[in-house]
Amino acid sequence: MPLLTVKNLRTQFSTERGTVRAVDGVSFTLEEGEVMGLVGESGSGKSITALSIMRLIKEPPGKIMADELTFDGVDLLSLSPAQLRDYRTRHIAMIFQDPMRSLNPVLTIGRQITETLRRHLRLSGGDARRRAIELLELVGIPRAEKRLDEYPHQFSGGMRQRVMIAIALSCNPRLLIADEATTALDVTIQAQIIDLVRRLRADLGTAVIWISHDLGLVAGLCDRVSVMYAGRIVESGPVRDVFYRPAHGYTLGLMNCTPRVDDIGHRLKPIDGMPPNLAEPMPLCPFLPRCEKAVEACSVKRPLLETVANGHMAACHADLSDHWRKDKVA
């Protein structure tokens, strides 16, 4: 049984301009210890997918629907608020995008770490503090003992993100959702965090959903990757397959606008146009207006996710095999 099963997840917001389908039929499964990347430009529904799994969408105006949304066999959508609270951070933890604003400015770092330990693991004050120091050392914050009594504004952005990560890891969750967790950090610290996530997965078998628009990072860290566009997964599969043999016009576009170390002289090509308005109905492929590889079928019907190769799926009518990296295909 997979650790997390998401089947036809739809998250909508009712606004003055009509219903915005932020997530529109996302399905995937995640095994214990598996690391899945979720990529796509901002507004594609990555964060909303993550927040929906955490059930952190405000309802109303939001609404989460799914054919199945189970964690370790438990239906997340039918949990009572109290049961839900027992899952959050204890079993499913999330690292948020903005480290500058995700910590409470008037509470000490220590308080913000220990409160999860005391709440979920029922640790005493002293034990919680000792564990908090361990956690801060784990994420690479020096002089942890002293810094525990400091406030968020005394930490740099990178340090704050490490604190957020320490909080997320505090109860050894079985699923960690990291939403642009390292975007605010410089490259060396990024590498340390990635290393930390790898170790966690090896030592504790933590499954990870790694949301990022940094394809290189996802390629280095993840087993599988799902590409989202306009609220849907348009392509998913093993990292190598998706990146070296993209089967969707959008993935190809993403690859073309990402710099590659191994391909000096490669011309970067931005994707023209804007993502579609999610409040409007989309009978055709939502990427069609921006797609350079569109074929006749594209103007007839919306492509469905279909298997391209073993474990590799894409929702695209076009044949992109000309663009595959032959040198990298095993």
Binding site: R90, L107, Y151
Partner: protein
């Protein structure tokens, strides 16, 4: 923080000098002789001159100011011309009354605004939110003396629940503790309604602001109990502007009581200034205005100190 505070405290005497010179100028450069007013027109010019000399009113105004400040530095506020009593003694009688009234108005404002403001923020666009908004609009629009009239008509004249006067006169209709509180109720409500409106609006908006912050989502993602999220994570942030405003408004309340004191016949500082102005009782006007301005400034400094204490981000 200490360097900032000491700077503020050093500035205080300077501001007080400006305030006192201004009030001194207004008083001395306007027509009206307190001695004439007190003694009447029939008194002999000699008697008037003698009294004028006694109160140093025959000196030029800047000399009067220097004498006044010199006495002040020795703790002498001068004597009331009309009452022939030390201003300090008058202050000792009036200040506690004004403080008690300001405190009771403050108490009313806090007790009403905290639940009203918080509930309005938590339950937006429900009846409690509309009630809070309506009360706020009313509170900002109704002058305290007009509200006092309404309250007197409803609760004293029609219902007979509260006395119209009573503070400082012992003429209360009730017994014991209630008897002591009763005369303060209507003046406190009338005086404190504007503050209630200010606090309610402030608390509502700061709470709404806090609830929309990213760190509230973090708190939820931690699986904390709702009460912990509300009391620890939200309230501690929302209270920062509130507590600061509390101190500032307390300073204001001492200076805006004059109409309320007038209606309810309360022997406070405002009514003392009013009668001193009418009678040109210069030492009383000077001394009282100075004390009220000092309180106002202290309240502002207190607000800064409180701000520094409750908000860890502030380091002066």
């Amino acid at each position: 923080m200490w360097s900032y505070l000491s700077k503020r405290i050093i500035q205080m005497p300077l501001v007080l000098v400006v305030v006192s010179i201004t009030i001194f100028l207004i008083i001395r450069l306007t027509p009206g002789d307190p001695i004439q007013i007190m003694l009447g027109m029939q008194t002999s010019p000699e008697a008037v001159a003698a009294l004028r000399a006694e109160f140093r009113l025959d000196e030029p105004w800047h000399m009067q100011y220097i004498y006044w400040v010199g006495d002040l530095l020795q703790g002498d506020f001068g004597r009331s011309i009309r009452l022939n009593a030390p201003v300090l003694q008058l202050l000792a009688e009036r200040l506690p009354v004004s403080l008690a009234l300001a405190l009771s108005a403050m108490l009313f404002a806090v007790v009403v605004s905290i639940p009203l403001g918080l509930l309005a923020a938590l339950k937006r666009n429900t009846w409690i939110d509309y009630l809070a908004t309506g009360y706020t609009l009313f509170g900002f629009a109704v002058p305290n003396f007009a509200l006092a009239m309404i309250l007197i008509y409803v609760f004293s004249i029609t219902l007979g629940w509260f006395p119209i006067t009573g503070i400082g006169s012992g003429a209360s209709t009730g017994q014991g503790l209630w008897g002591a509180i009763q005369p303060y109720v209507l003046p406190a409500v009338a005086l404190g309604t504007l503050q209630t409106a200010i606090f309610t609006r402030l608390l509502r908006s700061s709470m709404i602001d806090v609830l929309n912050q990213d760190y509230m989502r973090t708190a939820q993602a931690k699986g904390l109990q709702p009460l912990v999220i509300l009391l620890v994570h939200a309230l501690k942030n929302a209270m920062i502007p509130f507590v600061t405003m509390l101190a500032i408004q307390f300073g204001y309340l001492i200076g805006i009581q004059v109409t309320i004191e007038h209606i309810f016949a309360i022997p406070g500082m405002g009514s003392a200034i009013l009668s001193a102005v009418v009678n040109r009782d210069f030492p009383v006007i000077q001394g009282f205005v100075l004390v009220i301005a000092t309180f106002f400034m202290l309240a502002n400094i207190l607000a800064d100190i409180l701000y520094g204490i409750i908000d860890p981000r502030i380091r002066y």
